[in-house]
Amino acid sequence: MPLFLDDDQTALQDTIRDFVGEHAPVKHMRALRDANDATGFSRDLWKSFAEMGFTGILIGEAEGGLGLGHVEAGVVLEEIGRNLSPSPFLTTAVAAVATLKGTAHAARWFPGILAGDTVAALAIDEGAKHRDSVGLTAERSGNGFKLTGKKQFVTHGHVADLLIVAARTAGSADDAAGITLFAIPKDLANLTATPERLADSSIAARLDFDGVEIDADAVIGDVDGGRSPLDRLLRAGRTGASAELLGVGGGAMDMTVGYLKQRKQFGTMIGSFQALQHRAAHLYSEMEVARAAVIKAQQLLDANSDTADTAVSVAKAMTAMATTLSVQEGVQMHGGIGMTDEYNIGFYMKRARVLAEMFGDANFHADRVARAAGY
């Protein structure tokens, strides 16, 4: 398969570009932020995503979805990134769907996702940095389990209808085995969600599980066998976050190159200065290489390839590095106005920082690439 979008994927890109550009451009995010919106995204917009079929992008046609893959989901996410659109698309339509697909949970949760009524959140991280360890415990209790522990950086966790929780049913925090993944509904007793606004004005919750009773049928896959669905979740989430980063980095680069052709100093356009030209050209190169890494990971994931996992880590690390460069150069080359809240380039910098952390930062993934290569 060639490493570029085919005709159908390009057509989808045109549709989604127009749609997001019209309904959720950067000023949509700015408006939510200025209104101090407590949800963190627009439920109406999520409904329209559903009407366009996008929320079912990874759901099979037989189940009412579009039956498409990670390349297509990435097309959507890149536009979300480019427009800085707050959306539960990544957690819900990509990560949660990829996790629940083919399990008993699909029948329960997919209709709500297809209808744009259900929003999912992923309760994975327990410390400030994403790690492989899982410490929150799930003890057998009655017919089900009792969850005790804390999670953080749970995007949309304060409003989610569906929570996917990684818990420990055996062994200790750093063991690879003994993890169980759960799909649980909202409004359970002894579960407190504290919404925290992040630097990019998105909202992530800190979750406190203080002996939360859940049914046994909340288990995704097998008890103690959670590593496999969790890996499915992480691969989808990381690939999706990479595509969104590509949109953020690409959007910042386009703004910056546009500004270089517009701003005059010393009697000429600043884009004519070679010091800036070379930096812009270097940035372009990094973004191109990042784009290749992302489509490679998406295609391998869609093909269920054994090498997908390393490709996903390469994509996440590479997009984090390239996009970080893009937003830094962006603010710098805008000069003083790049520091102002009124100008959008700063929003790109903030969003890039959040996405770079999500599901493991560039160092985390470079470490995985190294371990996979045996050093």
Partner: protein, 392 residues
């Protein structure tokens, strides 16, 4: 099975039967690369492998059959490359004819020129060198001064080229000459001639690596028939630029890890060792290598994407400049890390254990990657102007 699956199975079987075992060993030194030519210096297996591949047109799989190529589609060419990589088959023939002159002749050559030169390139019969740079025309190549006087049916060429790689080993040269002194780019013509022509002489230049892979080339009243000019008189700059695009593609390939294993990682493990967690025992070097490997890995996908887009006619015409810039800078980083990982073992310049300082010499050689074929700065200028359309 699709046609492509059938092709893959047949290709694998044929390679298995025809690629000699020596030709599946990693390339270690310059001599391991097969260049063909009139005075070849074959190592065991090289000739058999080159001839076997040439018999199917697979030294140039995507060229038309009429010119010695394999006539393969882009998809088939990709399959062939994948199968060769999987089996660690060496490139059967290294050649400036294949990577540089060939594409330019395919685009600009007359039918006669194509039939003659391309077939010989495909079979590895003629080894070519590139006469572009002059002492006063480097990055500003179009200021070249080597002159070609019109003498009826031929030109008389006088002047000097420099940095001509393998000029002393090459059979023929593709050369930029000035046919009009009144304009710059518009006064250049592109000619081909035999290095054995009267009046051609070469003088090797010693490099920091201790090797002399390139030369000064002198032309003293060299007669070149006009039939050996490619494209119109004074239109040589179009051919030169087109060829440079292909040269940059080839050089960008240096950013890719070689098909046989990963010498950087293997070398680092061998000298430094792993700790009890299986990590390289020098954490800072490990971090540098890991960040490098993310980029190198991503660039591997970029190369694949670039070729796919090129074959589909979707690549930006200046994209080879990005590939050249990124690939060569990456290759320099790789060799810096290899030297750091190898420590004082790799500083030995002559010892047997260092294979005559092979690694150190290769490290020094890579420094030219971002100079030859147009410097990194020139590539960045091209990206800025032609892709980002920044003002002059």
């Amino acid at each position: 099975m699709t046609d492509l699956d059938t092709f893959r199975a047949e290709t694998r079987a044929w390679l298995e039967a025809n690629c000699p075992p020596e030709m599946r060993e990693p390339i270690r030194t310059d001599k391991d690369a097969c260049w063909g030519g009139r005075n070849p210096d074959f190592q065991p297996g090289q000739k058999e492998w080159m001839d076997a591949m040439a018999s199917r047109g697979w030294t140039v799989p995507d060229w038309p059959v009429a010119y010695g190529g394999g006539g393969l589609s882009p998809a088939e060419t990709k399959v062939l490359r994948e199968e060769m990589a999987a089996m660690k088959c060496r490139n059967p023939l290294n050649s400036f004819g294949i990577s540089m002159l060939g594409p330019a002749l395919l685009k600009y050559g007359t039918e006669e020129q194509k039939l003659d030169y391309l077939t010989k390139i495909a079979k590895g019969q003629i080894r070519w060198c590139q006469g572009y740079s002059e002492p006063n025309a480097g990055s500003d190549l179009a200021s070249l001064a080597t002159s070609a006087e019109d003498a009826g049916d031929h030109y008389v060429i006088n002047g000097q080229k420099v940095w001509t790689s393998y000029a002393d080993k090459a059979d023929w040269i593709f050369c930029l000459v000035r046919t009009d002194k009144t304009t710059k780019q518009g006064g250049i013509s592109f000619v081909l001639f035999d290095m054995a022509s009267p009046g051609v002489s070469t003088k090797p230049i010693l490099l920091i690596s201790g090797y002399s892979p390139f030369c000064e080339t002198f032309m003293d009243n060299v007669k070149v028939p006009k039939s050996q000019r490619v494209h119109d008189e004074n239109k040589g700059w179009d051919v030169a630029k087109y060829l440079l695009g292909h040269e940059r593609e080839m050089i960008s390939g240096m950013g890719l890890a070689s098909s046989g294993g990963n010498p950087l990682i293997e070398g680092a493990i061998a000298t430094i060792g792993l700790d009890h967690d299986g990590r390289l025992a020098d954490p800072l070097l490990r971090a540098s290598i890991a960040s490098f490997e993310v980029r190198a890995n991503a660039f591997g996908s970029m190369s694949e994407r670039f070729i796919d887009e090129l074959k589909a006619g979707r690549a930006h015409p200046a994209q080879p400049s990005m590939m050249k810039y990124y690939g060569t800078e990456l290759n320099k980083s790789r060799h810096e890390l290899m030297m750091a990982a190898g420590g004082s073992n790799l500083l030995e310049w002559e010892s047997e254990s260092s294979r005559g300082g092979a690694e150190a010499r290769a490290w020094l050689r890579t420094k030219a990657n971002s100079i030859e074929g147009g410097t990194s700065e020139v590539q960045l200028n091209i990206i800025a102007k032609r892709i980002l359309e920044l003002p002059a």
